[in-house]
Symmetry: C2
Subunit: 304 residues, 2 copies
């Protein structure tokens, strides 16, 4: 096993991932936890981090580079924002130091779009963009980053020119859990019902204004015609993803493949959705992108 040189941390709202990295940017050991920013704000960021470093066997002086919501105002230390149009390379240069710690800990900044007609913020995605595209990405590309708050990002010549956040994942959660549709999805299995999902993506893409009606039809359709809980869940999911795509796809860079940065279940759903709409894309694993982005930052900060 090669020697650890630093620790890379993706500290999101509700989850925490740590990678012990060697000098060559290879992943030596890994941990995942649900002690995200919200949990750590209660129990203390320093002690949460130390407990995971101990579990990874990280040496006492090993430096740590962090991206994500740990740098928010309500996080550990506020790491500020780079304003659009934002050179991705600037993310590498504006990390803040967490003072009073027994080791060197840095948190990377987010990106803000201070446009009063389309205000927006990201924290964590800028590091995935770095990892997926590199600090000096040439050309012009549209990036889709599915999540609780999906981001669609327009990049040109290594700059984040503009971006938009869609509450797609969070809307799915509250609609499936807390509305009348919770009855329709109760007992849904883990399987993906691709047909129900694809139909819903297509319908919502074509009739996006009707989304509040398409959602209710999940309930009334089950009441009048039956149908499985799994199909109901996939219809809600496809409706909300189709809605997102209806707004985002017309804004993409024409004649180029969308860069899809995703992992897990969302990777699968967005692949199916983009294929359903015949949109070409290239895929980058989100975890790999975050780790590579943090490695670029570590290299820039500590010349590892």
């Amino acid at each position: 096993m090669s020697e650890a040189a630093y620790v890379a941390v993706d500290w999101g709202t509700s989850s925490l991932r740590l990678w012990l990295m060697d000098r060559a940017g290879r992943n030596v050991a890994e941990r995942r936890s649900d002690e995200g920013m919200m949990a750590a704000a209660k129990s203390g960021f320093a002690s949460v981090l130390q407990s995971h470093l101990d579990a990874l066997g990280a040496a006492a002086g090993l430096p740590v580079v962090i991206c994500g919501m740990a740098g928010a105002r309500q996080g550990w230390v506020e790491a500020g924002y780079i304003d659009t149009p934002a050179p991705l390379a600037a993310v590498l240069e504006q990390a803040v130091v967490v003072s009073g710690q027994p080791r060197d800990i840095r948190i990377l900044p987010g990106i803000a779009q201070r446009d009063s007609r389309a205000p927006d913020v990201m924290r964590g995605e800028e590091t995935q963009l770095l990892g997926a595209l590199g600090g000096r990405a040439a050309g012009e590309v549209t990036v889709c980053m599915p999540g609780t708050h999906s981001k669609w990002v327009h990049i040109r010549g290594g700059m984040v020119e503009r971006f938009a956040t869609f509450m797609t994942g969070e809307l799915f959660s509250v609609i499936a859990r807390d509305t009348i549709l919770s009855h329709a999805v109760a007992g849904a299995g883990h399987a993906v019902d691709s047909d129900a999902f694809k139909t819903a993506v297509g319908t919502a893409f074509e009739a996006s204004a009707s989304v509040a009606n398409l959602l209710f039809r999940v309930r009334s359709g089950q009441l009048l015609f039956g149908g499985s809980a799994t199909a109901a869940r996939e219809t809600i999911s496809g409706t909300l993803i189709g809605l997102e795509l209806a707004a985002a796809l017309p804004e993409r860079v024409p004649e180029t493949a969308v860069t899809l940065i995703a992992s897990g279940r969302l990777e699968r759903l967005y692949r199916i959705a983009l294929e359903t709409l015949a949109v070409p894309f290239r895929f980058v694993d989100a975890d790999d992108a975050a780790r590579r982005g943090l490695a670029l930052a570590a290299n820039a900060i500590w010349k590892t």
Copy 2:
């Protein structure tokens, strides 16, 4: 005080309204309660009804006519549906009797749209439509009935030809209460911020596909530029109502005023929204409409 002839009851999912009515269809006494269908399903419909009849001083043999969710499968006695195209007058003829009761109790049916491409159901609104338009409404009209589940109904020659339900009110509740936007609206006052509401209605009406992004901007806008909790709440409300109008208005009967059946806060919001979009409408109070519809049913059933 004129003598009571029957009791009219609008028994919804989460609320219950009772009116003691005289032979001429005048309201003699009234009660409101939050013992809706969901609460009564636990404590028992018969005992809930009797407690309110006692409080109203209703005589032992006084008959009762009920509309709403008390007639759902999970309600008191299932009252079925009339299928579209549904003559409104049929609602008067197909009430079911609640058997085994010490008095004559009838529950009115709902209306179902058994179209697999646009399945839909209503319970309670058919009685408001009766009360607002009469059983033999001539002509062609589009009716807007705001609520937890807003209905848009196309009526021609006394028939419900088609309708669509929008989960607008329920989406507002869960988005304001259970998502990241709950922070943005925390502490919002009772006042209506008409400017924020109107702007949001217009924006969502024009860019309805972007609704999941427009909602996130409530959060990012407050983060980057400040803004009151009340403005944030009205922006969420206006965004969702604007979305509903973007789907429903293009389907309305051209060149006619929309019939708005509403009351309370929703009446005020939909008035402002329709005015913002320069849509002509005529207004009917929702409580009056329900009571008049129940009176028509009582007249038909008991020849009062």
